[in-house]
Chain length 298, copies 2
């Protein structure tokens, strides 16, 4: 297998500035010239949302890439049309014009460097294991949605290609760049590209056949008042404890009248995206995952 065309995407969400700045940084520091086996395309996905410093104008671009939506010309939202333009440029899903997509995101949650995998093929899993072996502390988040929906059903930009990864970095506020986070983005991106170079050169990859992932289970809503408004905040005990075990009866919310809400889940899950700004409008406070070992090569 040889990957010849690689696409690095920033600004899929317009207020997550690290991605767009990473694209400039990679280019202006000439960091890509050391890779000789593939071409790299640097792509700003939602320039209008980036210019306006908003996640999206009409709908979430990173939920606009299901085959059904891509085939529906009557949606008319800015991002629904933008997705079709990107699909034209990088797709189609069945035979894409790029061999690999890396999509860079940030979060207000304390998730450090998290690699997100939406297609659990051996390439993606091995890349994640390789990056984790190079950069200590990296977490791997696996979204099993593709197991039901298939890649054509997935709404994510990087579901355009079979070989893809998402990088999620945090905590960082929207609308700013921090040097520490930019350098983490840069290091993890370069590690992904190094992996591709090794695959292209048929170099043996020094990782085992098992990889620990956090598999997404379900989102958790904020407590709501009778008007459907958020009526609580994330409890300080839970704040910043992304990827840490959450046991039954541990505090998860503080209601605005002072009442503490305890976790009622019987299973000990691992919460992620705790107090993420982007999901307040959906009243989602965090998501639950469980740890799972995946075989890289079946």
């Amino acid at each position: 297998m040889k990957l010849e065309k690689v696409t690095i995407v920033g600004g899929t969400h317009g207020n997550e500035y690290t991605g767009p700045y990473l694209l400039k940084f990679l280019k202006e520091k000439n960091l890509l010239t050391k890779f000789s086996t593939f071409e790299t395309n640097l792509f700003l996905a939602n320039p209008k949302a980036y210019e306006k410093n908003v996640r999206f104008l009409d709908v979430d671009l990173n939920r606009s890439f299901s085959q059904e939506d891509l085939s529906n010309s009557s949606l008319g939202h800015y991002e629904a049309d933008r997705a079709k333009v990107i699909h034209q440029l990088l797709g189609p899903k069945s035979n894409p014009k790029t061999d690999f997509i890396l999509d860079v995101h940030t979060t207000t949650a304390n998730m450090g460097v998290t690699l997100i995998i939406v297609d659990n093929n051996p390439f993606n899993l091995e890349m994640a294991a390789f990056v984790k072996s190079k950069i200590p502390g990296v977490s791997i988040l696996y979204n099993p949605m593709a197991e039901q929906a298939g890649r054509e059903g997935l709404p994510f930009l990087n579901s355009l290609t079979e070989h893809s990864i998402g990088i999620e970095l945090g905590p960082i506020a929207n609308g700013i760049v921090r040097q520490d986070v930019l350098l983490q983005a840069c290091d993890s991106t370069l590690a992904c590209l190094e992996y591709i170079e090794m695959v292209n050169n048929e170099t043996e990859i020094p990782v085992g056949n098992e990889i620990e992932v956090f598999e997404k289970v379900k989102p958790v809503s904020f407590p709501l008042d009778s008007h459907g408004n958020i009526a609580a905040i994330v409890h300080e005990y839970l704040q910043d404890r992304d990827f840490k075990p959450l046991h039954k009866n541990h505090p998860v919310f503080l209601k605005l009248d002072g009442e503490v809400v305890l976790n009622q889940e019987e299973e000990t899950y691992f919460p992620i995206f705790i107090n993420e700004a982007a999901t307040y409008y959906l009243s989602i406070a965090y998501s639950l995952t469980r740890k799972r070992l995946l075989k890289i090569r079946k």
Copy 2:
């Protein structure tokens, strides 16, 4: 002197969620019933920007309260009109319907709890000194703009009254609430109200006659490229060092081509609002202040 009507304002900037949640928290936890000498009005200043999770829709509401703009009916921006409605409700500047305004803001910069004073009358300064004596680590920022423009020239919401304070809390991302920051907002607000209660009861205030403030000097721009776009990020050395001395030749920016930019100021200033999201659109990276001792009672 007796203050009978007190207004606590949140959501002057719609994406700074701590203020609006503080208003609900104060009400639902019944935290205001212990004050018997004044009435408290809880006021959400920009509900539309809060609903949309943006700082403002058209223009910055907290720059819309100069007497000149308040008298200009032809501006037509949403916030220009909203300011006139608030002016009608709480003003006019010469004879306001409220005796005191406390305006709650947040920042992505590492500014802890900062009290902002725009009118250096003895009441405001003594309140700041009292809050600082109760809450260790509080910084006091003094904006000397009123010394030139007079209160009628000031564009800030809390320039509607002579007696006023701003509370700035950070670091926190926009669009979220954190329990630690909410409790800081609550504690500092209650300390302000306690001061008013003491003044109303003619209780002696246990503070001296001098107060250390950081006086705003000037903003500092990001380095720009030939198209006027931001071409650097805040250097990791400077990041999070709000209110710390910044010496000549210390690193302040990292250009995207890797060049480090050094501070050229001869005077050792104290930077604030370092890497604040709200000023990227103005290409402002941070502001400089100098330390100054003010006499509370002249």
